[in-house]
């Protein structure tokens, strides 16, 4: 019994020794082969023979060449570890066989000591990797229209308030944020209201806030005959106050609404859009048209245009300028809040969103013509398009640069804006 046991242990020992020798040996064998590239070329499952592949080192010296065998295999020994560039000679490919991605004809690969690296040159029908420029452009145009409509809606109030009272409202961005944040509170935080209801509530509150600022603060100050600059400072103060109070309550994080957060995209040809974004675009367009019709047809709308054109003349012909201004503040704030809810829905809600948007709104109103509602619409659309289309070629982090660059360019070429009148710029 004891003999048998010892025999078994001897066999086991020998087995371990042989096995370890084998493993060690194979490892050594790999070391001995040194650094190399290797691979197998296949097209539709069949090996491809007679294709030349060459390798150059970092200095550009050719260090090896190989031609694939009948089994499609190739192997190139390398002089040592380092970075090499392997190139497949596409002229030697059989007729009708091509690289799946033409940009991967040369591969740059780093080899560490003792390693053989497999390289894959994928052959097959060329498939586009990601969208091409045309598709990207189509998508960027769509996004541009989407953001442009939102910017336009936010900026109408800014432009009309300027047109009526000559005030640049630095707090207009905070009305956008207020709408978005209130809707978030109604939707995702306390009440859990459905987003449409939450949005409507937020817009009503923000409109009341805008009207309240005009009624309880700016109107009394106007009676004190403060200069335009002092009013600008008041709006800067309001903007600092509102922004940081919202930061206090909302916090510095980005939040999303509960409804319509994740949706499958609809595709129309090169355009892909979620039902949410499509709805937002349609609603924005309808609202903008409604504003235009209102300004053209409604009594108050006509009064707004009259005051914007010439406040003294309007007042002397019996228009209650104070009431018109109050209406524009409330309606402009409500439109800004609608823009905020839309923007928060498309992107996310955060405390600085309106302030970031403010510069784009400035660009939009100046581009379109400071003080005109239609100018803000045209300018907003253009600014949205420019920012988004720029991302096709430029890094998205600098897309606002293009919008602001367009603004500076517009001031050089046509300072009165696209729809402004020359005499307005003094």
């Amino acid at each position: 019994m004891s003999n048998a046991r010892s025999l078994r242990s001897v066999v086991a020992l020998v087995a371990v020794a042989v096995l370890s020798l084998f493993l060690f040996g194979s490892a050594q064998a790999q070391d001995g082969e040194g650094e190399a590239f290797s691979g197998t070329l296949r097209f539709g499952g069949e090996p491809v023979e007679g294709v030349r592949i060459s390798v150059v080192d970092a200095a550009g010296e050719v260090v090896g060449e190989a031609v694939t065998g009948a089994d499609g295999r190739w192997r190139i020994e390398l002089p040592g570890p380092g970075t090499y560039r392997a190139t497949i000679d596409t002229d030697t490919l059989p007729k009708g066989v091509m690289l799946r991605d033409p940009e991967r004809q040369t591969l740059e690969v780093t080899v560490t000591a003792g390693r053989s690296r497999p390289l894959i040159f994928a052959l097959g029908e060329p498939v586009s990797r990601g969208p091409n420029v045309g598709e990207k452009l189509a998508q960027a145009v769509l996004n541009g229209v989407k953001f442009g409509l939102i910017i336009a809606m936010c900026a109408i109030g800014l432009s009309l308030i300027f047109g009526l009272t000559g005030l640049i409202n630095f707090a207009h961005g905070e009305l956008v944020t207020l709408g978005a944040i209130l809707a978030w509170y109604f939707n995702a935080d306390t009440f859990g209201a459905q987003l449409i209801l939450a949005g409507v509530l937020a817009v009503v509150v923000a409109g009341a806030a805008g009207g309240g600022v005009e009624f309880s603060l700016l109107r009394p100050l106007r009676a004190r005959r403060l200069g335009g600059f002092q009013f600008m400072v008041v709006t800067i103060g309001l903007s600092l106050l509102a922004r940081h109070v919202m930061l206090l309550f909302f916090g510095p994080d980005r939040e999303r609404y509960i409804d319509y957060a994740l949706q499958a995209e609809w595709t129309f040809g090169p355009f892909a859009v979620t039902p949410r974004d499509f709805t937002i675009m349609v609603l924005s367009a309808v609202l903008l048209i409604a504003v235009a019709v209102f300004l053209q047809r409604a009594r108050t709308g006509k009064a707004i245009r009259a005051v914007a054109d010439n406040p003294e003349l309007a007042e002397s012909s019996g228009i209650d300028v104070d009431r018109v201004v109050l209406f524009v503040w409330a309606a402009g704030a409500a439109l800004a809040a609608v823009g905020g809810v839309f923007f928060g829905s498309v992107e996310a809600v955060d405390w600085l969103m309106g302030f970031r948007l403010l510069l784009l709104m400035f660009a939009a109103v100046v581009l379109g013509g400071l003080g005109t509602a239609y100018g803000a619409m045209v300018g907003g659309l253009l600014i949205g398009l420019v920012t988004e289309v720029s991302t096709v070629w430029a890094s998205p982090e600098i897309k606002a640069v293009f919008a602001l660059g367009v603004l500076v360019l517009a001031l050089l070429l046509r300072p009165q804006g696209l729809l402004g009148q020359r005499e307005r710029i003094g």
């Binding site: 300027f162 600059f229 600008m232 109070v245 982090e397």
Partner: protein, 331 residues
Amino acid sequence: MEFDVIFGNAARAGLGPQAAIFALAAIGLNLHFGYAGLLNFGQVGFMMLGAYGTAIMVATWGGSLWLGIPFGLGLCVAFALALGIPTLRLRSDYFAITTIAAAEILRLLIRSSPATDITGGPFGLQAIANSFFDLNFLPDGRFGWGTFSYSSNQLWVMIVAWILVVLCSALVLALIRSPWGRVVRAIREDEDAVLSLGKNTVAYKLQALVIGGVIGGLAGVIDALQQSGVGSENFEPQVTFFAWAALILGGLATTVGPVVGAVLFWFLREGVESFIRELSEQGWLPDILADFLDGAEGAISIALMGVGLVALMALRPQGIFGRRRDLHLGT
């Protein structure tokens, strides 16, 4: 409640390097708006160029700091010309919008990844002010009492910065009393009248923009020196608003207004923040309120600053030293 701690913190901020930096920025703005009627909302752009010009010369190109400072200020001159030549013919509100936009364009470009090799992108640039602190002749250690104290290097920055504040104030005063200053102030009052006297008003405004911009650039240089580095997050549009707040608080179109305004601005801001910190640490408040205040002092002090600006405009729009008749400037 430790009022000596709060007062010490407030006094340290009120006399510290930040106050001197904002005083310089506000002196530049005062020349722009208070005297020349130029509504510049992009002062932070000048500060950024002064700071980044200096830092890039030292940290990126390995040049000397004494070459970097004139380089940064030279960039400010270029920026003023690039900004002014196209826009100074326009009405002041257009100028305001263009300047705020131009400063933000600069900031976005500086922090973008393509610019990282030169500007450090989002990481900024560091270790630029060694040759400035080598000149520090003050002994090591802390100077002052309690929380009102500065390190040797801080004190060195302060000495240089406040000397610059005095020099720039004197320069602006001398300019304003010169024939040049009378023309510039006349442009502010009635540009058409000055035009009809055959003066090239755009050239005068451009000169005022360049000088005020270079003074703003100096503020940026001091900022880069005191931190021994630059970062794009220090140059957000808000900085311009704070410089305006300091100027308005002190009083437009006065010599001491921007300086006293900047000191008071930082004294009040740090005083409020320190007060809130103390308040939340005292344990007098209900937990829910203490939790709310904890870490919120920055936002609260800026929100209160907003209230202060509105109140100032409602109650004393000319600021501390300003004159009421100067209220209808520029716009």
